[in-house]
Amino acid sequence: MIGKGRKGWNRTLFEILVMLAGLFALNTIILLIAGAPPIEAFKYLFQGSLGSWIKIGQVLTGWIPLTLCACGLVFSFRVGLWNIGVEGQVLAGAVCATAVLRLGTDGGAPSLMLVMAFLGGVLGGSLWAVLAGVLKTKGGVNEIFGGLGLNFVAQGITLWLIFGPWKRPGIASMSGTEVFPKALWLPAIQGLRINPGGLALTVGVILLTGWMLRQTRLGLALKGIGSNPRAAYLHGLKPQRYFIVAMALAGACAGMAGAFQVTGVYHRLIPSISSNYGYLALLVVMLAGFRLGWSPAIAFFFVSLNVGSIQLPMMLQVDSSLSGIIQGTFVLAALLLYAWRRKRKGTEP
């Protein structure tokens, strides 16, 4: 048996370095096949994301919803559910937040309306997630298909609202609903477009998630059910009830992300309001080993790749989906690493 002594840490560091070197080589090959100069491409990825304060502001703006989604996913993974419906939950949150903001400022103070919009988003997202949870516990529908089906439904509802009841006066188009009055925008630092409120909220959610999972009875129950539902049931826990609770928490976080996209980023409802953060968050949490720990840092890294890749089509005439390839290969490499570690653990006495 080897403890986590210096030797253990050295080995972990070594593994991670090997993994990074392998990934770097793999992505270099992919770039060479596509006929793009690899060093240039990596340089643009870096400059395009962290090269200036404005870029960092963009990264932080994406980091907020992605991290919120990831925090939510940790709850549903902890209890053993594959919540693929995050995307739909973000949309549901965005739609509900928009519904609140459409009431305008007549009813009360703008800041109150913003708070209400966030609460609406939380409520919408968690209801959408609970729906998938109920379909699983009461309907016997696998949560992967329930969640996925609801993603498409949420997308349909969003499109219908943008082109139907909520269309801009005169024209309905993919560009979305009418922009809200400035008073209903989430306050941002001028020039950098950084939302201090959104950042504070996200840090708060990270801390709260960590505390709930580690320090509360709920966290313990979720962990118990996730690792062995039968044993947990015999101990008097009701897995089905905790499934719903975990989904509600996951949906609440995703809905918050949707509300942020509406109030802090686009200031209106657009068809792609979720920006695929729901799916990306699944990759983030998988790379983090289904735990909270590294998730915020990985989310920052992933958004940096996304923001940096925007320049690629202009500068090198290659598609911006390179960022997705790098993210995917990272997660695959991590899965390989986990498998390797487990195998080694099995062979050691």
Partner: protein
Amino acid sequence: MNDLNVAVILGSIVAGAAPIVLASLGETISEKAGVINLSLDGSILLSAMVAFVTAFETKNLLLGFAGGAAAGAVIAGVVGLFSIYLGQSQVAVGFVLTLTARDLAYFFGNPYARQYGPQVIPWPIPGLHEIPLVGQAFFNHGWIVYASMLMIFLCWWYFYRTPQGLRLRMVGEHPEAAYARGTDSRAVQMTYTVIGGLLVGLAGAAFSLCVKPGWGRPQGAEGTGWIALAIVIFGGWHPVKVALGAYLFSFLQVMGIQFQRWWPSIPAQVFQVAPFPLMIFTLLLLSAAQRRSGADLDGAPSILARIVGVLGGAPPRALGKTFSPE
């Protein structure tokens, strides 16, 4: 609406169903062996791109189809390697690959977007295609459409009429028992995962070389993989019923386009997503009714339960579980 219109609509339903039939049959094969290949949506896109680019560069359609099939097989092989031999979650690996394969398709396909390339030309079957309605609907298509129809029968025959098919089903139901009787369950699972992937790759090739010729972003095949995964459940892991599900979905898609023609005021995008929730909700209904029919022991089964009895089926018992011989 006149007679010709109905024939054209029927024909487009049958043609549009071809890739969905191929993809859902491919998934049925790997799931019958106990492996969920969740990467379908990305696999289809990647193989559509590979097929189009290969056919475009070599000016050879057959090479295009071979390239598409190979791409599907490689992705399925990765799913198999990670889940069967390395013990990682099938859902996790499949999900990552869905996103990664999609991005690979867009990344490498970028220079080929909106180009005109070779495509499958219809081969009307002599004599048969002149039959009113039926001829236009079934016998006036590209060869890949006929191949997809043939594949339904082939799958059924292989599963239920051959010793290899019996072994395949045994591994999917009880890999431990199969192993104890001398079958290398992991090798069987790996083989059928790759074969299933081949069919998924053909489905992608059928998209870019026949049904929606060309390559672009978006390609128009997005979402099909998820639907195929749902169709496998809808069809109860039985190839004939699975194929029926694929035709039903194609019908919904074509009707969506028709409805849009009839009500132009409703935006196209709504109709594009409409078949997806419809399909998924059919699935929910099936599953819910299936449960109820099991619980109600007294009295005759309801009509709903009867329909479900015809359509639904039980999943292979070892589906999604990783088998290890140690």
